[in-house]
């Protein structure tokens, strides 16, 4: 008889719900779902101690496909909801799922301030450079010359650089994954969860329906040639000059996570309600 190897208490499948994803067959988001569940198993977490919060879009369907607590929120507002949840329930592991439209356009402002606040969240953005759910409009990360019926000859507008923006805004952990490597993405998510503060994991997740040419990303994606740095200036230089296909942890900062208000400054719900009561004259 052979001794079994060490393993997590729960398996990845224990984090998958009975709801079947409705994504297009071949979509990269299937892989991200697998990666999320594998990461949670690797971290030895339990579904009841994890919340998955999302906004709107293909990627934002993820909470329903897990057995964790879930909140499928308002377009672009996954981060404020997740921030409130984490501050109120710091004991929970909070994952936030978004896409390039939800996260960088409708929720762009929240992205900046979530990085700045550095609340201990893990933000996973499935970036396919297109609005898939609404049939293929250009998103903030769409290449300026990507021509389609909805944007003939392209938008002519330069792309948003999410990793650079995240660094400049104060994110404490920045990584890029590729959905073609679900085990690699699982490792990145697990590391992001372990790292204190706001962790940002951008996952290149091809849209096989509206951007079938993105299947070629599997040839472009490769491990980043250098190890992660904790020096923001060095990270900035790397992120500004990479071609968007370097995979791995790219920045690990040392900023302490947002620790909440001092106990003396907190109020009970009853106190707050009293403050809003109208006075009778």
């Amino acid at each position: 008889m052979n001794a079994p190897l060490a393993s997590p208490a729960l398996a990845a499948k224990d984090f998958k719900s009975d709801y079947k994803p409705v994504w297009c067959p071949g979509c990269g988001d299937y892989s991200v779902l697998t990666a999320v569940t594998k990461a949670l198993a690797m971290l030895n977490l339990r579904p009841e101690n994890v919340a998955v919060v999302s906004g709107i879009g293909c990627s934002s369907r993820i909470p329903a496909y897990t057995t964790c607590y879930g909140f499928h929120g308002v377009h672009g507002r996954s981060l404020p909801a997740a921030t409130g949840l984490k501050v109120a329930r710091p004991d929970l592991t909070v994952l936030v799922a978004s896409g390039d439209g939800d996260g960088y356009s409708i929720g762009g402002n929240h992205f900046l301030h979530a990085c700045r606040r550095n609340v201990d969240l893990t933000y996973i953005v499935m970036d396919n450079h297109v609005y898939g759910m609404t049939k293929g409009q250009p998103s903030p990360t769409t290449e300026p010359d990507w021509s389609s019926k909805l944007a003939p000859r392209g938008t002519g507008v330069r792309e948003f650089h999410p990793l650079v923006i995240a660094l400049a805004s104060g994110a404490n952990f920045i990584a890029r994954g590729f959905s073609g490597d679900p085990n690699g993405v699982a490792g990145l998510i697990a590391e992001a969860v372990r790292h204190p503060g706001f962790s940002f994991v951008e996952v290149l997740s091809p849209c096989v329906t509206f951007r079938p040419e993105q299947r070629a990303w599997k040839e472009a994606a490769r491990p980043a040639p250098v190890a992660a740095t904790d020096d923001p200036a060095r990270a900035a230089r790397r992120l500004m000059t990479d071609d968007g296909f370097n995979i791995g942890v790219l920045y690990k900062g040392n900023r302490p996570a947002y620790a909440g208000l001092p106990a003396a400054a907190t109020h009970s719900t009853a106190d707050l309600e009293r403050g809003f009561q109208l006075q009778e004259h």
Partner: protein, 178 residues
């Protein structure tokens, strides 16, 4: 699968257990991926291909059960969440983007064939490498099994129609931006 000869040293025993754990993980990954494909195709009302992927998942389950029986593990072996494979996933795992909502049974079998060929090569490489004798024997046996599966799938492919050109043309396509 017949039980290979006993190991000659604890190190060999460990190498054999590791080899079988990897083989088991390969099967689990394949089971899961085919089931995911089946779910995805079912959701998109391509029931014929969904059924085929379901069947492939079941076939891989049988292989996994045989490994468990062979190893006589007292319970399901506790496996690491991910092994480091030469590729990004196990050699018998089809990539997520291998499927299309209008795909036909022939396409599904093409995917299965690629996976079986990769698995066969994986075991052949181990059998031809510098592993302990017991591992090499088991790998040789598994490579032969995978070769049988390759032949079976090739036979299966002869029984299903080859897709006509334009099989992926949808009169009511989801994409409007061509």
């Amino acid at each position: 699968m017949s039980r290979p000869e006993p190991a000659t040293s604890p190190a060999d025993e460990e190498a054999y257990a590791d080899f079988m754990s990897r083989a088991y993980t390969m099967e689990l990954e394949a089971i899961e991926r085919y089931a995911q494909f089946a779910d995805a195709l079912e959701t998109h009302n391509n029931r014929e291909v969904a059924q085929l992927f379901r069947k492939l998942s079941e076939i891989e389950s049988l292989h996994a059960k045989r490994i468990l029986a062979e190893m006589r593990w007292p319970s399901l072996p506790a496996l690491p969440a991910a092994y480091a494979w030469d590729g990004v996933e196990g050699p018998e795992t089809a990539p997520f983007d291998a499927v299309h909502y209008l795909m036909q049974p022939y396409h599904a079998l093409e995917i299965a064939l690629r996976c079986e060929v990769q698995a066969q090569k994986y075991y052949e490489d181990i059998a031809a490498g510098a592993a302990p004798r017991r591992v090499k024997l088991a790998a040789k046996e598994m490579a032969a099994e995978e070769a049988e599966h390759v032949a079976l799938i090739q036979e299966w492919m002869k029984k299903v129609p080859q897709p006509a050109p334009g099989w992926d043309e949808d009169p009511d396509p989801p994409r409007m931006n061509d």
